[in-house]
Assembly symmetry: C2
Homo-oligomer: 526 residues x 2
């Protein structure tokens, strides 16, 4: 018996032993929404009906401070599966088509590392939207994704999702293997720029209406837009209300899909030994949401259900949580250490301890953000640190206009904002298109006093100390994670040759040329 | 015998038949320099000694208007091997490390298509610097590259290059196959930011000096920098002269390497049936050169030797030539049509007809340029059209400062410019760092009257018609090649759903917000 097999035998012994001692958690199920915000009863939305999500929340620890580190689909999924920020794993933007982003060749991911560490004794699966690559970096044992089906059929047809879930669970049962399953719904993503005939959010696709086809397991919920309360982030207009009605309808498909998957989990007897995490990849596809590092773009719903009896249930945590924490959490469930001897390190932490005790909150608890691209043409890299009170955003291409993606551009909400701007018509929105497009290099917000992130404190002399403090913490994180952009935009990173052991940011002399734009003040990191 | 094999048999018959009828060309050898400009006798450089290149030039058609469509290493190599501009094939920037650019999954390349079309009866090989990927998109039958060796050993050690050339030619001879071989030298690329101990251009590596090792076949040529004439593009300083002395020394290694490879070609009897093309990937690594679409960055040396007796020799052509033409030229040698039924089309044309007659020059003959990234952090996309008289550059992220790469940054020339700028010391350079960094959206130059591209005519009312005409031709090329950036920076491209058959550029309303920068004038494409 080789050392390798002894290690695996010990691992399997531990696993069975631990199951008996500590409770039941043997498997992990991640339920991932696509562009969802807080449109659910569990997060006190009074209109959007989500009984299945609410039921899960009742059994779960509810996160009130969960944030994605990146507000874009492929990079967010890559962060979940690799435990690394976008600038670390190389998934800088969207994976598909001309965007063609892939993680760096050497990057590993949950399915790969679990297979390798358990020598194939853990079964991994993905059902729904995958949207990451290259294929070899994310090789699940079981895959039913847009690579094999049309995205709606595998991401929005909850009857299909149910069937594939059954297939996967049957396999796990027959092979008697612990499993890691990710069910990645395509709802409530927009589809207006591709298939508007189904509604702006594809909310009518499969609804049984004429020409829409039927999803047998879906009972659509229709909303009268006139009743809906508009979140403060959106223009206070009928258009926004109509958008919400469509978005809420598609949330019902997501919600019922979650219900179906959880029902199967129970019927297969896995409810008693499976950790379930529900969350979303990034904020809703509205201005200020997806592709932004404002809270509307990065704050995520998150429930974590643990089958272990002593776990917190229907309780909330205010722990500052990053989706980067999911990777070490899953590793922790399977009793593996997160590889931290690799350079650059993963920076997340296991969330399992939260199931047992709420840590003492500290005002300095922080999460980080790293946005680079979305579409390949949308170069607007940003870095962010957010603690309980403050948020600092560093806009690295602040000279440029903030870019608008193809999907958002055609949305009724953005079109209304654009048209009002062009025709100089007033619009009840908390921003103007001008302020949305043109951002200063640094944005500092006191989130407690200014949750809408409207008053930039970065240039206020009284906040200079706070700004410097946060900038230094942000820069420290960038150095620790070997951020290729950490010297941008006013310096060049040198890290080879004479700089190999002491990488340095060397000035481009922009300052020497004066300040061509008056709307920022440059602070130097001491 | 299946249809497939009949087709191959016909192909082989044709090939042997055609060899007899039309002369001898059976094989193609591409000799590629790395960052070389016109530092050679054949292009009337009076100082740099390049007897082997000059000898090749004497037997060749010499190109006086050859241009790369992109001024960056990986994208340029990808353009040569795919026949597609950077924005078409997806190699938007550097391939290695954190940059991680790869061509789009469906893109084919010369080695792949030749193998497929000839059913493996053509042997393909690459020796030296490859620098493109993914591997499956560029699979040569024979590869000796930086993926198997240190880059200096395979790219600058001309004795190694000679040995591998012999190995490849032996294989071609033994297998009796026509071949496509690319020998890609790493000279005269800089290395100052990685291994400055070998000199700024690694010019002393392998020179036999103490600690430098020896390349048996290389007889280094040393230059006294005080004698050297400085090209107009560079600061007229001692520093620039010293840079030139180093660059010229490394050119001697390239030159002698070319000599060795051509000697082997002859000794193996392939001189009589091999088309030889010598060129360089992009302009020299100086400000205004590599990563720029100014002539210093895109104008390339190019010789084409044909073994066929009636070919033009020691003759010059002024045909407007793009490195995009190499792909269809190689296809033409092997009697294959360039795949033009694919969308987007390759836009190059075979250069073989030039071997027989110089076409009548037309002032409107044009080449195109498409630059996107170099390093991943260097987002400064540009598009260009250049005819015999005019050049128009469209800077898509003109708001931003022009980016400086890690390699150029540490160069003595750039450091001198930067320091002079910071200390406000005067410097005899044809630009200032301010004008270099800050570029208007449109740059229009009358190259005939202003070869240094100093007088921007884009905002001159008398050139408005010319500007519009060139803009329209440029935009037409972008549409034909399905450029993802073709609506940037003031509009969003919509090409799906309702726009599938009629893709459109939809305004972002920047104009409605006024013109925040006074240094450009926006022209609308009619």
């Amino acid at each position: 018996m080789s050392f390798k097999y002894i290690k695996i035998a010990i691992y399997l012994l531990c696993l069975s032993g631990l199951s008996k001692v500590s409770g039941e958690t043997k498997n992990v199920l991640i339920l991932l929404a696509d562009d969802a915000g807080f449109e659910m009863g569990a997060y006190l939305n009074k209109f959007c009906q989500t009984p299945n999500l609410d039921e899960l929340a009742k059994r779960s620890l509810i996160f009130n401070n969960a944030f994605t580190s990146v507000s874009s689909c492929s990079p967010s999924r890559a962060q979940i599966l690799t435990g690394q920020a976008s600038h670390v794993n190389g998934m800088y933007g969207l994976h598909q088509g001309v965007h063609n982003f892939n993680v760096l060749p050497q990057v590993t991911s949950l399915p790969n590392i679990l297979r390798q560490k358990s020598n194939g004794s853990i079964l991994s699966g993905i059902i729904g939207k995958k949207h990451v690559g290259a294929a070899e970096n994310f090789r699940f044992d079981y895959e039913q994704t847009e690579e094999h089906h049309s995205i709606n059929q595998i991401g929005r047809n909850i009857t299909n999702i149910k069937q594939y879930t059954k297939e996967f669970l049957t396999k796990a049962k027959n092979e008697n293997k612990p499993f890691f399953l990710m069910v990645a719904f395509h709802d409530p993503h927009r589809c207006g720029h591709i298939t508007p005939q189904y509604g702006e959010f594809c909310e009518r696709w499969g609804s049984g209406e004429e020409g829409m086809g039927t999803i047998p397991d879906w009972k659509p919920i229709y909303y009268d837009w006139r009743n809906l309360e508009i979140p403060a982030y959106l223009p206070q207009t009928n258009i926004a209300q109509q958008e919400l009605a469509a978005q809420y309808m598609t949330m019902s498909r997501l919600d019922q899909g979650v219900g179906l998957v959880l029902k199967e989990l129970k019927e297969y007897g896995f409810n008693e030994n499976t950790l379930v995490i529900f969350t979303s990849d990034n904020g809703p596809p509205f201005p200020g949401g997806r592709t932004n590092l404002y809270d509307f773009g990065i704050r995520e719903p998150m429930f974590m259900y643990s089958p272990e009896p002593e776990s917190r249930r229907h309780d909330t945590t205010s722990a500052m949580t990053s989706l980067l924490d999911i990777f070490p959490t899953v590793m922790d469930v399977f009793h593996f250490n997160t590889p931290n001897n690799t350079i650059p390190k993963t920076t997340g932490k296991s969330l399992l301890p939260l199931l047992h005790a709420e840590p003492k909150p500290d005002e300095n608890d922080a999460v980080f953000g790293s946005q680079n691209f979305h579409e390949i043409t949308m170069n607007y890299p940003m870095r962010m640190i957010r603690n309980r009170r403050y948020k600092l955003i560093h806009n690295l291409n602040y000279w440029s206009y903030f870019p608008i993606d193809q999907d958002l551009y055609t949305s009724p909400t953005f079109q209304q904002i654009l048209n009002a701007t062009i025709t100089k018509t007033s619009l009840p929105w908390y921003k103007t298109l001008q302020t949305y497009y043109r951002r200063p290099e640094y944005e500092l917000y006191d989130i407690k006093a200014d949750p809408m992130e409207l008053k930039n404190l970065a240039t206020k002399p009284s906040y200079k100390k706070k700004l410097l403090e946060l900038l230094q913490l942000l820069y420290k994180w960038q150095v620790e994670t070997d951020d290729p952009w950490r010297c941008a935009p006013h310096a060049v990173l040198e890290s080879q040759g004479p700089f190999k052991d002491n990488p340095a940011c060397l000035s481009l002399g922009h300052d020497a040329l004066g300040k061509p734009f008056a709307d920022y003040e440059k602070y130097v990191i001491v």
